[in-house]
Structures are given as C-alpha cells and as structure tokens.
C-alpha cells in the first residue's frame, strides 16, 4: 500500500473513531441520566443536547487539528526553503503524526527540489560566460582580447589565436603582457594608460597607432593600431577589451619608404653623399697646395654637389605638395638670425661669382612664427635665383622690415637682366622657366613654386617686381609670432601645425 492510500485509510479510521466516541458519549449520557439518576425526560433531553453541543465543538476541533497536521508540516517545509518567507522553522516530524510516511516523503521531495534549485543557482553564478563559443566574437576577423581585473586574458577570439600563432589554451588565463609583447612609439603605453585608467576612471577608451608586436619565432615585427576599452564596473568582470587592427603591410611600406619618389630620392642621395664626401677630402687635403684656378673649380664642384642635394629635396617636396602632405611646424624665431644664417651659407657661392650680398634688417622686428627649415629653403631659393640671374652686376640686397599691415616683409633684389613682362605672371607656376634662362642657367623651375607653397602655408604672400635690364625684386611677407597666438591656443603643444597642401621639411638637424 502506498503512502497516500495508507494516509486515506488512517483518516477514515480517525473519522470512524470520532463518530464512535460521539455516539458513546450520547449513549453514556442517556444511561447515566435514565438508569442511575432516573431523571425526567425533559432533563434527559437537555443533558443530551448539552453533550451533543460539547462533542460538536470539541471533537471537530480536535480532529481538524489532528487531520491538518500533514498539511501544516508540508506548509512549514515549503516556507522553510522559500527565499522570501520569514524565519519559519523546519517541520518537526513525530512518528505519531498522521500520514507520517506520506509527509516524510513529500517533505523530502520539497527539500530535494530546493537543493536542485540551489545547485542550479550556484552553477549559474559560478559559470563563466562562455565567450569562446560566442559566434559574434569568434567570427570577428580582427583579434579581440578581454582582460580581467588582474590583466589576465579571459577571452581571446579565434583571430587572436591565428594572429599570435598560439592556441587558445596558451593565451587564456595568461597575463596580457606575456601574451602580447607590444612596444609603443608614444610615451603613453598601454600599461601606463591602464594603470591611470584604473586610478581615475570608470570608463575609458584609447587608440594607439603603429604599435609593434614581436611574435615568437618571427624576425619581423607585426604592426597594428590598437583600440582599448576600459570599464571598471563591467558586471561580468570584463574590465578591459583590446582590438588589434593589423597594419603591418601598410606601415612596413611607410617605414621602408618604398614610395617611388622616396626610393628615387634615397638612391640619388647616396651618390651625392659620396661625391660631397670625396670633394670634402680633396678640399681638406689640397687646401693651399692648389693654384687658385683649380681651387676655384673645386669650390664650384662642391657648390654644384650642394645644389644637387637641394634639387633632390625640391623634387621630393614637390611630390609632397602634390600629395597634400603639407605640415609645417611654426616656432617662434628671431627673423634676423634666420636671414643671417642664409646669407652666411650663400656667401661663398656669391663670392665665387664676385657678388656681394648686402643686408638691411630693421632693428627691433617682432619675433616671427616660422618653420625654420622650410623658410630657409624659401630664402635660399630666392638668393640662389638672384645669384644665378645677376649677370654682370655684382650686388644683391636683402631688406627686412615691418610693413603697413604689421607683417614682416623681406625682399631680395638683384640688378641683373630682369624678367620680361610677358612671363612674369607664370613665374610661380610649376616647371616654369623662361626660354632665355633655360640656355644660360641651371635649375628645375621648382624653387619658386615651392616657395609660394611654403609662404602660403605660413600665412604670407610672395610676389615679384621686375624691369628688364634693371633687375628683379622678389618679396614675401610672414606673420609676427604674436599674430599666430590665437591659433596657438588651439594647439596642444608648442608647435603650430600648418597643413595646407604638401610640404614636408627635409630633416637635417644640422644647422648650416
């Protein structure tokens, strides 16, 4: 017989017992009143009503309590394990309880269910989110890593494994710095950023360009852009996420300078370096041993080689103008110093042709905002032209002064053949040279074109005045440094970066 049947049986027995007790009580009452006392029928009836009332009150109360016991115990058991119920004690199962076995059975089932729920809860709570099987993260074609609070890798997607040529097991759980051997071009490296973010932010993002990565067993480094996202309060403990955008091919090409122009410039510069080196030796060793004519030729050879260097730079820079790569860094400079440097450098060349360069620089000029190397090229180009086109005249005059508009105006005047009116309008165009000058002097026709681009990027203006037979005057303006101040406020460093279209300095640190 199963527990339920036994319980029903027990209940039936108890009900029968209660009915028997009730009847016995009434019978006993009748017997006592009738036989022993011999009461009259009215009193007998009254006592029987009283007994009935008493048993109707007491017996149902007693049996209800007794029969409800199993329900109460099960109720207790359920409330005992219910999460939001008040402190209900565990049910106390006595052997005498009605339906003991059934209650035992049901209560044990309740507790079993509770423990199953608890186990499920615990398992869920302890379970790490399974990113490894996550379709989105794994099908992402770029390496993605997730780090915990201790910089250990919680997750690395399939692309990461391929990129690093390691298995997921070799990556996950490892410290990120042992997984990624990265080096940065900037001061703020990933680890510094992360430390800073942990100290001061809840959420932070950053992007690095040209991060280098050494992969074990590979000679060449990987190069990539790195995006990092930091969230201190991520509920799943995904504190930092890293995404790597591989740029090895593109940056590698940049580093190698394999653009055609860069390559050509490199190839041209090597023989020029050598020529200048050998000429240098001859000048050093033969100084004082050569007759003046030969020494003059040696000087000219040196100047020619120097001119070739400048020409190569011009070619490169024109290419840059064309490619919209103009970036000038304007610094505060003393204008008179720059002019003197250029005059000093071109003095020798002028002297060889018997030309003297006179300079009139107004006193107390304000400081200027210029890119020193580039502005040197402008002055150099103008002075070089003046020397080339001086013809039989022996004087060049440089003047610098503040003009009416408060700009620094500089002119380079020669007393040579001058420029025909018909071609003056085209002078600053690329490749333009007059038919006449082509026969007499060298040059590429790039110098004035570049000068115009550079002066334009400085915020100035360049022009020419010329009269045939009387010579030419080239002039340009540049801005005082104070006038650039507003622009400077917007910059985040001391340089004012100017980008119009395409000028990159040549990068000699050597101050000539």
């Amino acid at each position: 017989m199963d527990n339920l049947q036994r319980f029903i049986h027990q209940v039936r027995h108890r009900i029968v017992a209660v009915l028997v007790v009730n009847n016995l009580l009434i019978f006993a009452d009748w017997w006592v009143m009738e036989k022993l006392i011999g009461a009259d029928p009215i009193r007998l009836l009254l006592s029987m009503v009283a007994i009935s009332l008493l048993s109707l009150t007491f017996l149902p109360w007693l049996s209800a309590r007794y029969l409800a016991q199993p329900t109460k115990l099960i109720w207790q058991a359920i409330l005992h394990i219910a999460p939001d119920a008040a402190n209900v004690p565990a049910p106390n199962l006595k052997k005498r309880t009605i339906g003991h076995d059934l209650v035992m059975n049901l209560v044990s089932h309740v507790y079993q269910l509770a423990s199953v729920v608890e186990t499920i809860e615990k398992t869920e709570a302890n379970k790490q989110p399974d990113l490894q099987s996550d379709f989105v993260a794994n099908s992402l074609p770029v390496p993605l890593l997730v780090l915990d609070k201790n910089q250990n890798v919680l997750f690395a997607n399939r692309s990461t494994c391929e990129y690093l040529q390691r298995t997921a097991a070799e990556i996950i759980g490892q410290n990120v710095y042992s997984v990624l051997d990265m080096s940065f071009g900037t001061e703020e490296t990933f680890d510094k950023w992360l430390v800073k973010s942990k100290q001061s932010s809840a959420v932070e993002t950053k992007l690095w360009e040209r991060v280098r990565l050494t992969v074990e067993g590979e000679d060449t480094q990987r190069q990539f852009d790195l995006a990092a996202y930091f969230n201190a309060e991520n509920p799943q403990g995904f504190e930092t996420m890293l995404v790597l955008f591989d740029r090895t091919a593109a940056y590698g090409r940049d580093d190698q300078g394999l653009g055609f122009i860069e390559m050509a410039v490199h190839e041209l510069r090597t023989p020029v370096t050598l020529l200048r080196g050998y000429i240098d030796i001859f000048e050093e060793e033969l100084d004082g041993k050569l007759d003046p004519e030969l020494r003059g030729y040696l000087h000219k050879m040196n100047i020619t080689a120097e001119g070739l260097t400048a020409f190569i730079n011009n070619v490169l820079n024109v290419a840059r103008v064309e490619n919209d790569q103009l970036t000038l860094k304007l610094h505060e400079e003393q204008w008179s110093e720059i002019v003197k440097t250029v005059i000093n450098d071109f003095g020798l060349r002028a002297k060889i042709q018997g030309i003297t360069i006179e300079a009139t620089i107004a006193k107390g000029l304000p400081t200027v905002g210029v890119d020193r190397v580039s502005i040197y090229e402008v002055l150099g180009n103008l002075l070089d032209n003046a020397i080339k086109y001086s013809g039989d005249s022996k004087k060049i005059i440089i003047r610098s002064a503040l003009n009416k508009e408060g700009l620094i105006e500089t002119t380079v005047q020669d007393y040579g053949a001058g420029i025909p009116t018909s071609i003056i309008g085209n002078l600053f165009d690329k490749y333009y040279r007059s038919h006449r000058s082509r026969a007499q002097v060298g040059g590429t026709g790039l110098g004035l074109y570049l000068s115009k681009a550079i002066i334009g990027a400085h915020g100035g203006r360049i022009w020419v005045n010329s009269h045939e037979g009387q010579g030419s005057t080239f002039g340009f303006t540049i801005l005082p440094y104070a006038k650039l101040a507003d622009e400077k406020k917007n910059g985040d460093n001391n340089d004012i970066i100017r980008g119009a279209h395409g000028w990159i300095k040549n990068h000699s640190l050597y101050s000539r």
């Binding site: 490296t189 090597t270 790569q325 990159i504």
Partner: protein, 130 residues
C-alpha cells in the same frame, strides 16, 4: 695634429651602415678626429654590438639588412630597453613620413640626412653632442 692629442681620444663610435663607400668616408674623417671606430653593415649584428654598451656614439642607418635601423633603434630605446650610454645618431638618406620621423626623433638623439652633410661637418656635429 696627432690624434692622441685630440679631445676625441678613446671616444668610440659604432657605424651601422651598409654602403661601404660611405662608411669608408666616415671612418676616415672620424679616425682623423681621434675617434675609435667600429663598422657593421648588418642591422641585427649592429644591434648586438650596440648592446655591449662599449660605444659613446652610434651612427645608425635606417636601411640596413636583416633588421631595419628603426627596429634596431626600437630595441635600443623602446620601452623596457636597458639604458645605454651611447648617443644614437640616425644617419640616413631615406625620407620618412612625418609621423614616422617624429617617432624616430623621440627615441634617437639626432637625425641627419647624409646627403646634406660632409664627413667633416659630421665630425663637427658629433663634437657637439657629448
């Protein structure tokens, strides 16, 4: 002047340069000025030499075999690299894009375009970067 009397005596220079004629010119000028010069054509071997920390100046070309000058520089001056006493002077004829050059200049002590200086000017310049 006797090289022994020059202020550059015992200053050691490492030239990492694969163009033989150029390093020949530099060796001549530097030796005359009293420097003790070591040359290396290979980037990786140049790095190994530089890491011995026996040099006062390292002239580093960027386009050298097996390991580029940029990588050599990065190993010498990148994050975590041990400090070297040598000054590193990049000597190159390669034009760099602005940002690459900025990064190089942050790690190197100087950046020279070889075509723009003569060997004697190089010596003069090295004298200024003690």
């Amino acid at each position: 002047m006797d090289p022994q009397d020059t202020p550059n005596t015992n200053r050691r220079v490492l030239i990492v340069e694969d163009e033989h004629f150029i390093s020949e010119l530099y060796v001549r000028a530097l030796t005359k000025a009293g420097y003790e010069v070591t040359t290396e054509v290979d980037g990786a071997r140049g790095l190994a030499l530089a890491q011995t920390d026996k040099f006062d100046i390292i002239l580093l070309d960027l386009m050298v075999p097996t390991m580029t000058g940029i990588d050599v520089l990065h190993h010498l001056r990148g994050p975590g690299a041990p400090a070297l006493r040598a000054k590193i002077v990049i000597t190159t004829n390669l034009e760099q894009r602005e940002e690459t050059r900025d990064n190089i200049e942050k790690q190197a002590d100087a950046y020279l375009v070889k075509a723009e200086i003569t060997p004697r000017e190089l010596v003069q310049f090295l004298g200024t970067i003690r």
